[in-house]
Symmetry: C2
Subunit: 481 residues, 2 copies
């Protein structure tokens, strides 16, 4: 360390301030239920509390940390609150947070095997573990023709799957010549919006995405898929990609892989399975049936950053044929050449996703799996599903609320009997209470409330309180309207 003012934080300062941040986080979790779950600030309010100009001189760390309470906390929507039931969860946990900290401290780049072999090998290893943990087909393991990689999100994973599908269908000519408007992708009306985004990004065009009808449980209808593929082929188009979902965002619908799979196989169409939230349930043998038919899939993803206590970002993406993915995304400029790569004996993950750089995300996943153990993870998944099922029974037994569809897992879709406007008002008032946070969707063209039990610290009493709050607020609104 140079004698002159270095501006850097010394290791001793890092110890001191590091402890302060660790304590801040522990305190935060101890008082998290005292905050309104959904932030109440108005647009522009946070910025108004920030100075217009950056500081010319450095500030004390204590001042900066103090501003977290003063400036930042009012603008936080508390995803880690046990009263967070919105969207899908993005749950975190102690071991995950500490894994992320360690990853930031090591600060390695895992773009090539050589740039930190542990970053690549731990990732490959833990993703192989997860194949067994979730009962996925062995073809997704690195010991076979496939393998797994951590992506930032299911959106990016689905895009990579679509790109590999596009290249396989065009014998890797789209990469060279560009798209020609003839490639077609398939999903259901319930499929996540990231597929539409991917289809646009990849140059297929949204008019070449077929959003197919669903059955009464909002699952993709295989007959509609088969018919549409046939029609498209007859029209001279090239069907290349099907996205099936295990646990759709709106209602957790399970697309029937055992029927979709053979159609894709026969038609030579890439089958991608998006199990972003629900995949985690397959940790428990009794929910492994969710993955029935997975032997037909060319690629698969699920997000430990949703329901497996591993903080964002951590999407696990698997392919059955890694060569197709790598050939799709590989570039090798001189400045990245190295002996290990040229030996062919290693994985270079930069060819498995969009960005080149990548951080050591496997650490937090490894920490979570080891700290909880498979049994610990199963315990919480079972508990969450049980709590959601109980909530669904309360809804079904109520004369004011309707269960829109039987909940397959931990997401309950329900509505008040008094129609869309009432439900919309109800949601607003519930979220304004600060006591819980729910979001909505539309199912069968009705405004529908969603309650997803998946936050790390959600316990029975949180779900009970939520149901009481919902009933009470609905009763108040019924009086008023």
């Amino acid at each position: 360390m140079s004698k002159e003012k270095s501006f850097h934080m010394t290791p001793e300062e890092f110890r001191r301030y590091g402890r302060a941040v660790v304590d801040w986080i522990a305190d935060y979790y101890e008082r998290i239920e005292s905050f309104p779950v959904l932030s109440r600030v108005k647009p522009g309010e946070i910025r108004a509390a920030l100075p217009a100009e950056p500081p010319l001189q450095g500030e004390a760390f204590e001042t900066i940390l103090g501003d977290i309470d003063r400036v930042i906390l009012p603008g936080i929507t508390h995803w880690q609150s046990p009263n967070f039931f919105a969207f899908f969860p993005a749950n975190a946990s102690g071991p995950a947070i500490l894994g992320e900290l360690l990853s930031a401290g090591l600060g390695v780049q895992g773009m090539l095997w050589a740039t930190s072999p542990a970053c690549t090998e731990l990732e490959t290893h833990v993703l192989d573990w997860l194949v067994d943990m979730l009962g996925l087909p062995p073809k997704f393991k690195s010991s076979g023709t496939g393998g797994g990689v951590i992506q930032d999100s299911a959106s990016s994973a689905s895009l990579c799957a679509l790109l590999a599908a596009r290249e396989r269908a065009t014998h890797f000519q789209s990469n060279r010549q560009g798209c020609d408007g003839r490639l077609v992708a398939y999903a259901s009306t319930q499929t996540h919006s990231s597929i539409e985004k991917a289809v646009k990004i990849a140059g297929l065009g949204s008019q070449n995405l077929r959003l197919l009808p669903v059955d009464d449980h909002f699952a993709l209808r295989p007959d509609a898929l088969a018919r549409q593929i046939r029609q498209d082929r007859e029209a001279g188009l090239i069907p290349c990609f099907v996205c099936a979902t295990i646990g759709t965002t709106s209602s957790n619908a399970i697309d029937p892989l055992p029927e979709i799979g053979p159609i894709c196989q026969e038609e030579g169409v890439w089958l991608h399975v998006d199990a972003a939230m629900a995949g985690t349930a397959a940790l428990c043998p009794e929910y492994r049936h969710l993955h029935a038919g997975m032997e037909w899939a060319d690629s698969y993803c699920f997000n430990p950053h949703k329901w497996m206590f591993t903080n964002f970002d951590c999407d696990c993406f698997y392919v059955a044929d890694r060569a197709a993915l790598i050939q799709t995304l590989s570039v090798l400029p001189e400045y990245l050449r190295n002996q290990a790569t040229e030996s062919g004996a290693v994985i270079d993950y930069r060819d498995w996703h969009i960005p080149l750089g990548r951080r050591f995300r496997a650490l937090k996943l490894w920490f979570v799996i080891r700290y909880y153990g498979v049994e610990g993870l199963r315990h919480h998944i079972r508990r969450h599903i049980e709590l959601a099922q109980e909530f669904a029974r309360w809804v079904a037994a109520s004369d004011r609320f309707v269960l829109v569809v039987p909940p397959p897992l931990n997401l309950v879709c329900f509505r008040h009997v008094r129609g869309d406007e009432f439900n919309e008002r109800l949601l607003e008032r519930l979220n304004a209470s600060g006591r819980l946070y729910l979001t909505h969707t539309r199912l069968n063209d009705h405004y529908t409330l969603r309650l997803c039990v998946g936050q790390t610290h959600t316990e029975a009493h949180h779900v009970q309180q939520a149901w009481q709050q919902i009933q009470k607020t609905a009763a108040e609104l019924e009086q008023e309207l």
Copy 2:
């Protein structure tokens, strides 16, 4: 907290283990120079130290942390070592690491303004600060028609720029109809490989990427660009995107924006400027000339995670016309609708990049800018450039080494006089010594060594030692060969 075994880490345990990890990191930085910079493990060695099966029961945190030393450290290539001179740096710092920790602790999703207003507003605010800090045109500020967003990497930022360019050139029809093989993109032979990757991903096809010749300083030749655009138009093609680089990866070449800009303007072609590493130099008024001509740019990116002490991932991406970017990437399913979005008064960053989910990356950037202050950041940038320039003078004065091109900033390209094979052997031996890590490139078809000074803790004596080691090793090799 429930009475039954919860498997979770309690806040008290989090305090204890959190301190242990903080101390581990502080210790790591104190002993980082004792490790070989480039990991010495063989392919498969890390995996061989890991159990084949995941643990069924949870393990003690102490055991897990102990395995970092035992299993992980041998497989780390030490990007945070002051003797790391390879690639471009991916430097971290105390305040950045603690910002990342806090972000993981808060665990919020910033996909929509409403899902954590502070996550969005702090990001917009700090990215506006950086426009002033780097002397960028005000059009990139959120107060005008543009704005900035944090992306994971320059690869992803360039892809987004290309997509917006593609849509602007086709009046947003490519998104709908798909690409048709007529869109053309332009870069130089020295442009980063991510542009080729982006051109493939976006469905343009690599044969529609023109890699244009460069001048003696490896900078894009504007005359070649103008000529090629004209030819392509005459051939019925649609020029849509030019990527100019401020600081190419191989040699830090600066493409001449003041000449490229007017060509793009006249031709109505989107100009993206990639300043991934070198952009940071513009923090210092004396290097702000690097950004001359930026008023012509439609988009710009630089990576605080390279040279501005903010750990990966943190790429700052700016557009002059945010409407074009948003219209390109926007999707709005029912389950993401909310009042704030529909008011039009807020930014929803999910429409500014590929993934939907996003973490609170602005925190670490804010911590770094505040902790160092603008003057603290400038101090280190100046120091790094000074050290690289000094190294270049040593090379130039040596009779055994040749300076391949005058270094514009902190990257020195040089080679030993004895030819490619000798230089390749020299690099291997230097890296095998463990004392430093350099990488190579090819310039004018010669194998060329690169030494980049940008690691947070690199001081004068590290650069001096590197030069001594290079001279000594070269002398040994000269004896042997």
